[in-house]
Amino acid sequence: MLEINNLTVQIEDNRILNGLSLKVADGEVAAIMGPNGSGKSTLSYVIAGKEDYEVLDGEILLDGQNLLEMEADERAAAGVFLAFQYPLEIPGVGTMTFLKAALNAQRRARGEDELTTPDLIKRVNAAGETLEIKKDFLKRALNVGFSGGEKKRMEILQMALLEPKFCILDETDSGLDIDALRIVSEGVNTLRSKDRSFLVITHYQRLLNHIVPDTVHVMANGRIVKSGGKELALELEANGYADYRQEAA
């Protein structure tokens, strides 16, 4: 599904990713853990196509397609989705208007027919129910006045609607209460399939009890410094990152 080779990225002369390599197989759920500032969000932005970064070296392949040559919207149409660590508020843009525009833009890019409004409403309501998002939220401007947890749920709602094949969840668990964590995790679990892979960035092992990963990677100083199975998360929870901080320095 996803293959990252020797990715080296800087922003304003600050090197943030240092020859990072990572593979995620079809249907795999890969977790990334790592200290603050190690470059996890940067990695997710670079995969999604944010423009502020200078890629000095390396490649990112999604099913063989070189993502680095594509615009963010083209990557989205190719199946990349990023659930933001800090979802943005967009005053004046109605949530429904936004969802319709996004869905139809992707469908157009893939040469599919656009959705009609009733069709869209049906889908949104269904996804909203699963994620226990109140209906009147969908009538508001996108994320405006939403609590931190509500914004995170809205990200997962978008993910469910857009049906991407590679999903990045950047600290989706932070800011969620215990019930919301369960609801969101269930939402993610129902989307798991052999054709869809996940990169789950988190600081807490707790999330991984709900979304059980196939692999766990430790990121420090802009690269993957250790990879293992789900037991690696437990080890990190117990011992912290002390062993890894120096390693790549």
Binding site: E51, A76, A77, P87, I90, G92, V93, F98, A101, A105
Partner: protein, 439 residues
């Protein structure tokens, strides 16, 4: 004393000559016209060293004086009617002006409901219509060079009276359309007297072909009685070469609800002025506008709200999108007189620059002579937010579509504030057209 010899531009000489040639044939009392022209005769057209015209140098913008429009013939009228598209989807009582002249005389006005009386302006001037006494009465508008030029040259237009308590079921629509082969000037005047307790929506549209460098000067004056409610929406969809000068004045009684919105897409250079006076307590005023500028357009919104009595609320909300090499101007002034306590006044101008060669001039002013008031102003000027654009693109929206969505959201609030749904939808449609043309 030293004799100062004014150097006149071609336009200034032309306007002076034109007046001398026309004045014998213009309807009504010529003394009023002479008086209105005195300032122009002395100082010429206002230019950038005149404070109120610092960002709208009329002397530079008006190179030559275009001749006044002839009364159009039947063919021209028919052609012009076909071009009046702005609020076509809104059922309304319509009056159509072709090249500044009321077309088909009163044919359209005959379909107006009882409660709305319309008199062609020339006729009103000729017979000394009693309502004309309230023309040009707003103090903060007096001495304004654009309004004075209108007064000096005004010929056609209308006097509209909405009777006390009347609540017409449809808006009154004034359609200004231009047609023809040669550039012309207009000086159209409309007086709208809304009597106590009446409730009316008045929409105004200005449209014409590109390539005609017309000079239009329209003034619409409102006199609003106690407890009346007026919503005014103006659409400037003039051709790309037009110099458009427009003035709205309003005198409000007590307990009035008044709103005026100017949506600007057309014209090469446009100055829209609003002079409003609160003369009765507990009135609520909204002055809004959106300007969507591209190419080399220059658009100026100049507003003065005069709070002469206590307990009135005024809000001004202007949104300007500037693409290309355009220039935008917002000059808003709120005056609160010594006894106008408990005035609540606020104005906000937001500009979005889509190009590095565009520029916006914001000049908000407060002149407050009372001590127990709440007044504020704010102005912002910025580019589209890259973070928001990335968020939208990451959901699959191509850049142009993401920008359109954000631009639509930016101009949304003043449009959404329009009460009449059909009028609101019509403006949304024009904004969408403008955005689509950008892509």
């Amino acid at each position: 004393m030293t004799e100062v010899t004014q150097i006149r531009t071609a336009a200034e000489t032309g306007l002076g000559d034109l007046f001398d040639r026309l004045k014998g044939g213009l309807p009504g009392d010529v003394a009023i016209r002479e008086a209105a022209l005195a300032g122009f005769r002395e100082r010429g057209l206002p230019h950038r060293r005149v404070e109120e015209f610092k960002y709208f140098d009329l002397r530079a913008l008006m190179r030559e004086a275009a001749p006044p429009a002839e009364r159009p013939n039947a063919t021209e009228i028919a052609k012009a009617f076909n071009q009046a598209k702005a609020f076509a989807s809104v059922p309304a009582y319509r009056l159509t002006f072709v090249n500044g002249h009321l077309a088909a005389s009163l044919k359209e006005a005959e379909s107006f409901p009882s409660g709305i009386e319309v008199v062609p302006f020339e006729q009103a001037l000729g017979e000394g219509h009693p309502l004309l006494a309230s023309l040009g009465r707003v103090e903060v508008a007096q001495g304004n060079p654009i309004l004075e030029l209108n007064t000096a040259f005004m010929n056609d237009g209308a006097v509209i009276r909405v009777a006390a308590g009347a609540t017409p079921d449809q808006p009154i629509a004034l359609r200004f359309v231009s047609a023809g082969e040669t550039a012309f000037s207009t000086a159209t005047r409309v007086l709208v007297v809304v009597e106590a307790g009446a409730k009316v929506t008045l929409i105004e549209s200005h449209e014409g072909p590109d390539g005609l460098a017309n000079q239009t000067n329209t003034a619409v004056e409102f006199v609003v009685g106690d407890g009346a409610s007026v919503d005014h929406v103006r659409f400037n969809g003039e051709g790309a070469d037009v110099l458009s000068l427009s003035t709205i004045t309003a005198t409000l009684g007590a307990d009035v609800s008044f709103s005026t919105h100017n949506a600007l897409i057309g014209s090469a250079a446009a100055r829209h002025q609003v002079f409003l006076a609160c003369k009765g307590e507990n009135s609520t005023v909204r002055i809004d506008g959106i300007s969507l500028l591209r190419g080399r357009q220059h658009a100026d919104a100049t507003l003065v709200v005069d709070h002469a009595v206590p307990h009135c609320t005024s809000r001004e909300t202007f949104k300007t999108i500037l693409d290309g090499e355009t220039t935008g101007v917002f000059q808003g002034k709120i005056v609160v007189r010594p006894h106008a306590q408990k005035t609540d006044g606020g104005m906000k101008s937001d500009a979005l620059l889509l190009s590095e060669r565009a520029s916006m001039n914001n000049k908000p002013e407060l002149e407050i002579f009372a001590d127990d008031v709440v007044c504020g102003h704010g102005a912002t000027c910025g580019a589209l937010d890259d973070e928001l654009l990335f968020y939208l693109k990451s959901r699959g929206l191509p850049k142009a579509e993401a920008e359109s969505l954000l631009l639509q959201a930016f101009v949304g609030p003043p449009i959404e504030a329009i009460e009449h749904e059909g009028v609101r939808d019509a403006l949304v449609g024009r904004v969408e057209e403008w955005l689509a043309a950008r892509r």
